[in-house]
Structure formats: C-alpha cells, structure tokens
C-alpha cells in the first residue's frame, strides 16, 4: 500500500477543488450575475486567484528540476516569471482594464477595429494555450507514476477529466475563490515539506556536497549569455500575452484596482518562488542521483521520500504531490476556459441555436481544447516542462506583447502592419517551437540550435520592426497621397484616463434608475458578459 498516501493527497485536492467550485457556483447564482458580483472582489483575493492560476506545473515542479540540472542559470526562470508581472503592472494592467477588453481577441478587435485582427488573435490564443497545456498534462502523468508507481495515463486522465468537468460545467470561469484557494494550497504544499526537510538536514549536519563546483554560480561562459537574455526577454514579455492571465484581470473593478492587484501578485509570486531552489539545493546535497533530465522534473515530489525516510517522508511527499495536482488543475482550468471560449466564439462559426446552442458549442469547444494537448500527452511524448512553457512564452512574446505595448501607448499603430507583424513573429516562434520539440535542433549547429531553442531574442524585435516600420510607411504614404490617416478606433490617451471614483452615479440622459446606479464599468462588464 505504498501509494495510498499519494492517492489520498490527490483525491483531497480534487475534492477540495470540486467542492469549492460547487459552493462558489451556488453563491454566484444567488448573487445573480458573476460579473457584477466580482466587483466586490478585493485586490487581495483577486491577486491570490491570479497567483493560483499562474503557478503551473512548470513553477511547482519544473523550476526545481531545472535548477538541480542546470544550476544557478535556471534561477532566471522564476525571476522572469515575476518580472513579467512588473511589466504587466507598469505597462498594461490599468489601460487594458480601462479598454474594457475581456480577452486578447477583444483587445485586438477594439484597438485595430478589424474582425480579421480578432480571428488572427484567436488563432494565436489557441496555439499558446495548447503549447502551455501540453506540459501540464505530461507532468501530471509523470508525477503520478513517479509517486504511486501506477501507469502515467491515469494522472493525465484524472486532471483532464476534472478540468473538463469543471470548465464545461461553467464552474471555473468566474470563481475567483477556487483559484485563490489553490494558490495558498500550493504555497503550503511547497513550503511545509521544504521547511521540515531543511530542519532535518540542519539537525543531521551537512553531508558533503557532490555537485560540480560551478553549479551554484551563474555560467560565466559568454556563449550562454545569448540563451539567458533570450529567455529573459521571452518570460518578461510573454507573461502579458498569456490568455488565461489577461482574462483574470477583468474581475478587477477598474484600472486602479487592476494595478493594485498586480502589485500584490508580484509579492505572492516572490513568496512562492523562494522555495523551488531550496529543493534543488537540498537535492544537490542529499540526492544528487535525481539530477538527470528525466527524473529531475519530479524532484519536488520525490525528494521528501528520499531525504526523510519512513512515514514522515511519505506524508511530506504526499503533501507535495497534492500541491502539484493543485498546480495542474488550476492552470489547466484557466487555460482551457480561455482556449475553449475563443474556439467557441471566434473560430468555429455559429450555427444558430440561441443560448442553448451557445452553451452546447462551448462544451464541445472544451473537448476540442483539451483533445490536442491531452492526446499528445497520452502518446507519451517526453517534453521538458519548463522548456516547453518557455516556448509558449516566446510565442506570446512575439505576437501579443508588441500588439499590447504598441496598441496601448502608440496612436500610430496601423491595422495591416500590426497583423503582419503578429503573423511574421508568430510563425517564426511557432516554427522554432515545433523544431525544438520534435528534436530537430539536436542535429543543427550549436548557434542555430540556440537560436531555435530560445527564439525570443530575434522574433520579438522582428515583430516590433514589422509593426513599427509598416505603420510608419503606411502613414507616410497616406500623407504623400493626401489621404488623411484614419483616427484610430481607440485613441490611446483615453486608455490612461482614470475612472471617476466608484459610487459615482452618471447623470442623465434619462435612463431607468436601476440601470444608472451601477458604475459605468459594471454596465460595460454586463454588456460584454451578455455578448
């Protein structure tokens, strides 16, 4: 019965998720409207929810494994994940919230005033989502089999079924509280075993280290600098382009709230990311045999059993496993909601059927959104966790990040060049991702392999250059031919204008008293929700 505690831990996490989701759904229904109810969500809860959704398998498991294998160079991953939120905070959060866009395709359509922009963005959302979902499901199988000794596919299927049920049931979408609880669950599940292991290690006295001497110092090989910088760029800019992250921002009441929430998220992420390197250091001292690419990804779950033999180790390992499944569930749910929403609304043409048809289409889209990544995961393809997520970031950074940054701060961005830029940069990053994941890069020259494995350093500038140069050329041509450049659909300066203090009642034009008591942001939100 060696796998009983592990199975119990996973069952508890699944049960807590389902129960909180069910409870939250009931509360939302009595409140009448998810979106109006979310107005009362305080930045603190909202931030926990964003943290809960963001901290994926790559953060919970992948970072510790990478640090163990690659040493201090891998510490850039969590730093990049966190600084990405600083960019989101300073450059995107408030204006995006004020634009009223709910998803990235919403923003593209709003800012570029083109339905084609919406479809193109929807396509990229699906690609990024699949690339990010794949490692979640792969890791679920990997961790499950490592902890219980049972076949891999069970772990993948458990996560897929719970996610499909929760998303198709409509549970996850607006329930901030589920994701918020998942954050604290994950923090506890990674911090408690780490503290106990540290204490044990301190009591036993430090055993001799067996790692190579250069391990704990960042690489001083200039050739590695390209990889480091390219990775940083992808993580910094990619965060703002992740579909599930931006959707969450909509639950903020206004731009100021969005900013304050992001500030808290940065604190919560820092609180979490201190722990994975602790596992790496402990493993380096206590269990260096884990430092192999195949085994390192499950380090967080395996280490407690090795470092603390007996019942204590088993229990700590079960706690860590529960946290890992919380990570799979929350991230996969958020991504699945984002991808299936886009599939149902933007990519698969509607065939009528009214509201019931729309719900049925969303449920069908959920299956479609899950089928591709779950299918690949079940085929047993070995994908390195953090590296795959890194490629998803690179794709987001080469498409959405320039669109958001230029679209929010520069009136001169024109529709055609913006679409062309996204197409060029996105294709380049996607091709690089496919070549890397299929292992073609192993046969390339080292320089070419590096450029393909960390593509952001050249794909992001490529996208920006196409967008900026194209827009400037088009505007110059308009000026030469005497055509007045069109007023952009959204003038960027308006995105930065602060809202009036909440509680303010907009004056007539004569409207029913009930409608005008809600602040304008709430009314906009309802309008979007009904779309």
């Amino acid at each position: 019965m060696s796998h009983l505690p592990a199975v119990t831990a996973v069952a508890v996490v699944v049960l807590v998720t389902v129960l909180v989701a069910a409870f939250g759904t009931r509360v939302s229904r009595t409140t009448g409207d998810f979106y109006v109810a979310s107005r009362s969500v305080r930045p603190w809860w909202n931030a926990s929810a964003i943290g809960g959704e963001y901290l994926s398998a790559a953060s919970f498991l992948g970072v510790a494994g990478l640090v163990l294998v690659e040493g201090a160079d891998a510490l850039w991953f969590p730093i990049g994940y966190t600084v990405g939120y600083l960019l989101l905070l300073t450059l995107v959060a408030a204006p995006l919230r004020r634009s009223g866009a709910y998803t990235l395709p919403d923003f593209a359509e709003l800012r570029l005033g083109s339905a084609r922009a919406r479809t193109a963005s929807a396509l990229v959302v699906v690609l990024v989502g699949w690339l990010y979902l794949l490692p979640q499901f792969t890791a679920a199988g990997l961790v499950w089999s490592s902890a219980t000794g049972l076949p891999r596919w069970i772990g993948t299927v458990v996560v897929a079924v719970v996610v499909a049920g929760a998303v198709a049931g409509g549970g996850m979408r607006s329930i901030t509280i589920v994701q918020a609880v998942q954050y604290w669950l994950k923090l506890t599940a990674i911090a408690v075993p780490a503290c106990v292991l540290l204490a044990l290690w301190g009591l036993q006295g430090a055993p001799p280290s067996q790692a190579p001497p250069g391990w704990a110092v960042p690489s001083s090989d200039p050739a590695d600098l390209y990889g480091t910088y390219s990775l940083l760029l992808a993580l910094l800019l990619g965060t703002m382009g992740l579909p599930h992250v931006l959707t969450r921002f909509y639950t903020n009441p206004d731009g100021t709230g969005a900013r304050r929430t992001t500030r808290t998220v940065i604190g919560l992420l820092g609180l979490f990311y201190v722990w994975p390197p602790v596992y790496a250091v402990l493993a380096w001292r206590l269990a260096p045999q884990l430092a192999e690419p195949g085994r390192a990804d499950t380090l967080v779950v395996d280490l407690p059993g090795i470092a603390a033999p007996g019942a204590l180790g088993t229990v700590l390992g079960a706690i860590a496993l529960g946290g890992a499944f919380a990570a799979f569930l929350s991230t996969a749910s958020g991504l699945t909601v984002a991808v299936s929403g886009v599939l149902a609304r933007d990519l698969v043409p509607a065939r009528g059927g009214g509201d019931a048809g729309a719900v049925a289409r969303f449920r069908l889209a959920t299956l479609g959104a899950l089928a591709v990544p779950v299918g690949i995961a079940l085929l047993g393809v070995d994908v390195p966790l953090a590296a795959t997520v890194g490629l998803a970031f690179a794709l987001a950074a080469s498409t959405f990040a320039p669109l958001l940054l230029l679209g929010i701060w520069w009136d001169g961005l024109r529709t055609g060049p913006a679409l062309l830029g996204m197409a060029v940069g996105g294709t380049a990053a996607a091709v690089a991702a496919v070549l890397t994941l299929t292992g073609v890069t192993a046969r390339a020259t080292p320089a070419l392999a590096a450029a393909l494995e960390q593509p952001a350093a050249w794909t992001v500038p490529l996208t920006v250059a196409v967008m900026v140069v194209g827009s400037l050329l088009r505007t110059a041509r308009d000026r030469r031919t005497g055509v007045l450049p069109p007023v952009p659909p959204v003038q960027t300066a308006l995105l930065h204008r602060p809202e009036v203090p909440t509680g303010y009642v907009p004056p007539s034009p004569p409207a029913p008293a009930t409608a005008s008591t809600a602040p304008p942001t709430a009314r906009r939100r309802i309008a979007t929700a009904r779309r």
Binding site: V217, S220, R259, I266, Y504
Partner: protein, 139 residues
C-alpha cells in the same frame, strides 16, 4: 420678455445637440475628446513605467555580464552558497515588489494630478477636458 404675450419669445440658436455633461466618465470606445491633459497624463505614466522597468531590468541584465567579468565576486561564499545564488534566488524578489509598490503610488499620484487639473467641478458636472481652454493656461 417683460410683457408676456406681447412679443414672441426670442429664438435661441441650438449649438449642441448632445449634452456634454458626464462624458468625462464615458468608456474610451465613445468618440471622446482627447485633451492636452490626457496626452500629458499618458506621457507621465509612460515615463514612470519605463523608469520602473529599467530600475529592475538593467541591473538584472547586468548580472550575467558581472558574472563573466568578476567571477570571484559572484562566487563569494555566503552561508555555504555563492553570493550570486543568494541574489538570484532570494534577493531579487523584495526589490521587484518594492519597485512595483513605488510605481503604483506614482501612477496614482499622476492620476490624482490629472483629476485636479480637469475636475475643478464635481465629477460629471463639468465638460470633458478639451483643448478650447484659454490659451496660456499651464497644463
């Protein structure tokens, strides 16, 4: 006007068909007037944002180079681990958070300034900020 009934009421030319009241609050989708205040707010926010990002990103970008130039300093042992490890694994997070905090305060101050500039009247009572203010008024 003093003797009702004797003269026809004087005609008044209607110059605005849409009341401008309250449009300060309208979402950006409406054809709103961008004023010099809006532009200066955007400029102030951009300046603040770029500063905050550079304060964090430039030292981060410099760290790998530092490791190449001064391997000795990076490897300096502190509590059994090299200094570079402590900086990267723990030290950066409080810095990022503090910069974020400072940025939020600054951005809200800019918005407060903006409100003071355009909102001499109570919210919704005034016209939206527009460029037809008396020349010479400072922004």
């Amino acid at each position: 006007m003093t003797e009702p009934g004797r003269r026809r009421p004087q005609r008044v030319r209607v110059t605005r068909t849409v009341p401008l009241r309250g449009r300060v609050t309208s979402p950006p989708r409406s054809p709103d007037v961008v004023s010099v205040y809006d532009r200066s707010l955007r400029r102030a926010q951009l300046r603040g944002s770029v500063t905050s990002v550079l304060v964090v990103v430039l030292p981060l970008l410099a760290l790998p180079v530092l490791g190449v130039l001064l391997p000795g300093a990076a490897a300096l042992p502190v509590l059994g681990l090299p200094l570079a490890w402590w900086l990267l694994a723990v030290g950066v997070y409080p810095v990022i958070w503090l910069v974020g905090r400072r940025h939020v305060a600054g951005a809200e101050r800019s918005e407060e300034d903006y409100r003071e500039l355009v909102g001499e009247r109570a919210p919704g009572q005034g016209r939206p900020p527009s460029q037809d203010r008396p020349p010479g008024e400072r922004t």
